[in-house]
């Protein structure tokens, strides 16, 4: 279900009734976002399809550099310099009754996109310091966003900003309006970023490793906070993380990425307890165990992520895959196949009647 079959897919019509029932806020369809530079192009996102149901949390996991952040940035239509969306669609359906808007087809700097970005789709980034201005107070940054998108006057915007800071658990919010980012600790800074992202009460929050730099008690509080905001506003969350513990706690659905592609997607229980893709299985095994003796060495996935300039032929994972079949995996490019309710995998072992 997470993977969105093309209209050309015969299964689409068959599953149509069921798929249509899913109230999807975002459908990413065969998205490709590439970077163009001196050394050649980097296919950071290379044919990614998945969807985000309204009011649900979808977690994206995967190797460093697999394109998780760029997927999130593509949904915001704010790809870093040197890169752009080259093909695919990002169907955004703020109103379930109205036709979808294809974000990928909007001009990144145009008015329509700017009205959506920051207002309807908020971002909390991996590095909170980078998202906050060092020279403007938190209050001014919040008020700027609010006044721009919600067309509020100064006084009203200020009240709205204070209210939002209180909502995310900043103590003495009125006082803290005059503080600068560096005056907050890591956890508080991330709350400020959440406040900034939520200032306009968006429909989708893209959270890119928002708790990575936080300790567990603060993380637990932030995850609780996101959960309650989700319940309150019906917020959908796209949560990028490498912490499988966090995924297990908050995800409704999980998307596993490898070198710019989705290799497996499904609901959280399936991914954790019946993973199908060899990469997902290996990933789950490399988590340090909290129980039993800490082992001398962690299980690792041998080898390195392939170079973005020289993607291996066949399945990208084959040089590192323990189940790879010579003559098959190094030749053919796996397609995604549905192997269960909402469970999609992209591995040749599952192709052909499986």
């Amino acid at each position: 279900m997470l993977q969105i079959p093309m209209n050309t897919d015969p299964d689409f019509a068959m599953a149509g009734g069921r798929l249509a029932e899913r109230d999807l806020l975002i459908e990413v369809d065969d998205l490709r976002t590439h970077f163009f530079g001196g050394a050649g192009s980097i296919r950071a996102v290379d044919g990614v399809s998945f969807s985000i149901p309204r009011g649900k949390t979808v977690c994206v996991v995967g190797e460093s550099g697999s394109g998780k952040s760029i997927t999130g940035r593509s949904i915001l239509n704010q790809v870093p310099r040197g890169g752009r969306i080259v093909s695919g669609a990002i169907r955004y359906r703020p109103d379930p009754a109205a036709p979808a808007i294809d974000l990928a087809s909007l001009d990144p700097r145009g008015r329509d996109m700017r009205a959506i970005r920051g207002a309807q789709i908020g971002l909390i980034s991996q590095e909170p310091m980078a998202a906050l201005s060092p020279v403007h107070t938190i209050g001014n940054q919040m008020m700027e966003v609010i006044r721009l998108h919600l067309k509020m006057g100064k006084k009203e915007a200020r009240e709205h900003a204070i209210e939002t800071l209180a909502l995310v658990g900043i103590p003495r919010p009125a006082e803290r309006m005059d503080s600068y980012a560096f005056q907050f600790s890591g956890g508080m800074r991330q709350r400020v970023c959440i406040a900034l992202a939520l200032a306009c009460r968006p429909k989708l929050l893209i959270a890119d490793e928002p708790t990575t730099a936080l300790d567990v008690t603060t993380q637990a509080n932030i995850l609780d906070l996101l959960g309650s905001l989700q319940a309150e506003f019906g917020l959908s969350v796209l949560f990028v993380t490498h912490d499988l513990g966090v995924v297990a706690e908050i995800a409704d659905e999980v998307v596993v990425m490898y070198v710019g592609r989705v290799v497996e997607a499904g609901d959280v229980d399936t991914i954790f307890h019946a993973p199908a893709h060899p990469y997902t299985k290996a990933l789950l095994q490399s988590v340090p165990r909290m129980h039993g003796q800490p082992t001398e060495r962690l299980a690792i996935i041998e080898g390195m992520v392939p170079s973005r300039f020289a993607r291996p032929q066949g399945c990208s994972f084959h040089p590192r895959c323990k189940q790879a079949r010579a003559g098959l995996c190094d030749q053919r490019d796996p397609q995604s196949v549905g192997i269960g309710d909402g469970h999609v995998v992209s591995c040749l072992l599952y192709e052909g009647g499986q």
């Binding site: 530079g37 050394a39 996991v61 995967g62 190797e63 460093s64 550099g65 697999s66 952040s69 870093p80 590095e127 310091m129 980078a130 658990g169 600790s185 890591g186 956890g187 508080m188 490793e209 990575t212 730099a213 936080l214 300790d215 567990v216 008690t217 603060t218 993380q219 637990a220 509080n221 995850l223 609780d224 490498h242 912490d243 499988l244 513990g245 995924v247 297990a248 706690e249 995800a251 959280v268 229980d269 954790f272 307890h273 290996a282 990933l283 789950l284 490399s286 988590v287 340090p288 165990r289 909290m290 129980h291 800490p294 082992t295 962690l298 299980a299 690792i300 996935i301 390195m304 170079s307």
Partner: protein, 352 residues
Amino acid sequence: MAVSQTPRSPLLELKDLRMHFPIRKGAFRHVVGHVKAVDGVSLRVEDGETLGIVGESGCGKSTLARTVLRIYQPTSGEIRYRDRSGGTVDLAALSGPALDEIHRDLRMVFQDPQSSLNPRLPVIDIIGEVLSVNGIVKGRELEHRVADLMLSVGLRPEYMRRYPHAFSGGERQRIGIARALASNPRLVIADEAVSALDVSVQAQTINLLQDLQEQFGLTYLFVAHDLSVVRHISDNIAVMYVGRVVEKAPTELIFSRPLHPYTEALLSAVPIADPRLRRHGTRIRLAGEVADPAHPPPGCPFHPRCRYATELCRQELPVLRTITADGHAAACHHAESLSLNPFADRTVPEFN
């Protein structure tokens, strides 16, 4: 590395270390108070040991790390370091060239790779910086050293002429680790060094850090919030709360027999990679925020959030003291009488 059998001073010993930041206000920038980010920390770190440091956001872990490295001038206290000649120096009292020399021995991997890597330098210059000062290593040799370091942290040497922005967050963190290792340090302070890495690279990096430790007799101060990582890598763990160490013990004891209520809460907040367990939440939610280090509460700084607090706790500051003979220390008035939940109480069926 030859290990001497004679008892000797630890590699690093902090004695009542304090780092207070002045709070200034008004046109004349008068000092109106102090943020007591590190407030009387005493710790011993032995050769080849990994000391994990955990604690809530803002409790002073990074400040402690930066003070040890003398990025900050400590307010008071000592940072006793045993140098290569075997003599002990107080880093708190050093300055100028003597400090620069020490900075080759003590290296840091930072929390935030975005702001700690110079965006205008290619990776070769970032990693090789410490090697090329004074032109010690240059040209081909520098390239080879950098290539070697990149490989050892799992980066492709052919990327050495690229700039940091062209790498993902995890890749940038590995650049930071390679940079820290470049000068053959003795003590590496890793401030959330593996937090930004995804699981499989994290596993590789942890294994790498452990290999390097064995190979070069490295000592680690390992600041991290991920307790499963800290548990895996640390010999001992120090738990900090508002500028102080509130519990210190060999790793297994922290998990199997916590003696400080804050540690108990911390253990209960660890997310576990099993979605079935989320419905079995036995989590202790800490109410309120971490105490403000500019105005720590009187008595035990944890008392406003502690479910075991008594009148004594509101009055008197508990000091870190050894509670049991196996080297378990805690700063809690009631450490002997409380029976706190160990981590193992949340049992997990292993997935496969």
